[in-house]
Amino acid sequence: MSIRRIIPALAAVLALALVLAACGSDDNSSSSSAPSTSSSSAATGAAIKKDSANGKVTLTVGSKNFTEQKVLGEIYAQAFQAAGYKVKKALNLGDEQTALKALKGGQISGYPEYTGTALLSFLNVPAAKLPTDPGEAYDQVKAGMAKQGIEAFPPTPFTSSNEVGLLKKKADQLGVTKISDLKSKASSLTLYGSPECRTRRDCLLGLEQVYGLKFKKFVPVDIAQRHEVLTSGQADVSIVFTTDPQIKRNDEVLLQDDKNMFPPYNSTFLMKTSTAQKAGPDLPKVIAAVNKNLTADVMQELNARVDLDKDTPQQAAQAYLKQFKLISS
């Protein structure tokens, strides 16, 4: 076989392979689609029934960039797929502004947001007007987002707020149980939070404005390290989430929000109204079925499975859906 024949032949095969590979690209998915579940869900009595009419609709499920979000994203993605929709995933997008931008720009069809985050970051509700009742928070979000052409689906039972956390021994040493207790002590304390914490009213900015706290130092750190920095002693105070499994494990204390700086944070699935209409009547039913059992305990268990047991979000999500008989085992 002469070189003269091999090289053009190789080039042709290579070019063909490249064209096929590049054309088959899923530009919007960061990982493969959810694992296929048994299609005859009627046999084992799973709550989500596959309707092949839904196959005409493609839904791209997004999520923000921390564990709870990735798990929720996976849960919705797998649930939609079980209902027969074509599902793509674009998880781990970034913070809420990035996610909203992707939603409005059409890169994703929907993602799970929190009522509190929507109130503060999207609707700019002033601190004095923040609701304390989860139902009222949702109503405000629903109304506010509808004006932006976005539907906010009914929320989960669990709420997962930003919390001001310390190790128990540090809290005892300082003698603090409420956030306002920190007023006199903050100037000698180091606070660690996510990079966007400095500019968020439900984070450092709010602590400064509502509680008048002036910390000695604020250090931005990856969200995933929020507990690590407490146990390693680098941080005196860290911003953590209500449903974090590490709170119990590390013996941490969450300071009471006595001035009601933090609104409720139930998870509500956001989707453009136009997309929701195209998706048909099954969509709200699936979301409602999924949300029903997402209590604080369950959400914390799912977070623990990923953060502590090192399961993948996909595995944790599947376990949730199977446990509560939403998909068949």
């Binding site: 002469s2 070189i3 003269r4 091999i6 090289i7 080039a11 290579l14 070019a15 392979a17 490249l18 590979a21 590049a22 690209s25 899923d26 530009d27 919007n28 998915s29 960061s30 990982s31 493969s32 990735k70 674009a90 781990n92 890169q107 995933a224 390290q225 690590e228 494990r249 305990d297 369950v298 268990e301 623990a304 499975r305 502590l308 047991d309 090192k310 399961d311 993948t312 595995q315 376990a319 949730y320 446990q323």
Partner: protein, 242 residues
Amino acid sequence: MTLDPTLVLAQSEGGFFRNRSSGVDKCVESNGFCPSWIVHHLDRYTTPFEQHLVLVVVSVGLGFLVAFALALLAHRRRWLVAPVTQITGILYTIPSLAAFFILLPITGRGRTTAIIALTAYTLLILFRNIVDGLDGVPAEARDAGRGMGLTERQLLWRVELPLALPAIMAGLRIAATTTVGLAALAFYAGAGGLGEPMEADKAFDSNVVAAGGLCVVMAVALDGLLLLTQRLLTPWTRARAA
């Protein structure tokens, strides 16, 4: 995934909640390097591995086609060598992370952006090696070919390119191994790859080692494959060495 039996017990009791006070894998809990965990959890890296491989193969392949075309052009028009080298040199120097986000407004988030950036990176190495390979062909071989009555085109394909093959393959091998390393960043552009699971739990030693190790395996395998191809395509070098 193998579960500790005490954990399984809690789950099968009808409860959903695992018992974490006992039977916890100490190595995993401390985010350490746990070879048995890696071995049992390799399946979670298969999809990223596939995505990674596609990125590398497509980028190096495209880069080769472009570089090859440019090199053939520059072979006859020597004045092209300097400007092409300069331009591909600039593309090579731009850090891929920066390149992803400069391309983002134009090509959006996803595999296309990553492939464009990765392809651009390979151009310098491949172009230079192909040109040098062709330049390194002995004048005597060219003269002999012309003496035999070969046209310029036949000379190129039957004499020059085969003799340039070692240099070309060397360039391909370098391009392939460096692209494997760079493709680990592709997840920042939304293109997946082994960097994605790596970053997802970057504090967990075993995870970083597993994902990074699979990158190394891929690089070594591609390098070996290309070396083998080179040996097959240039049997005369083996004969000479023998």
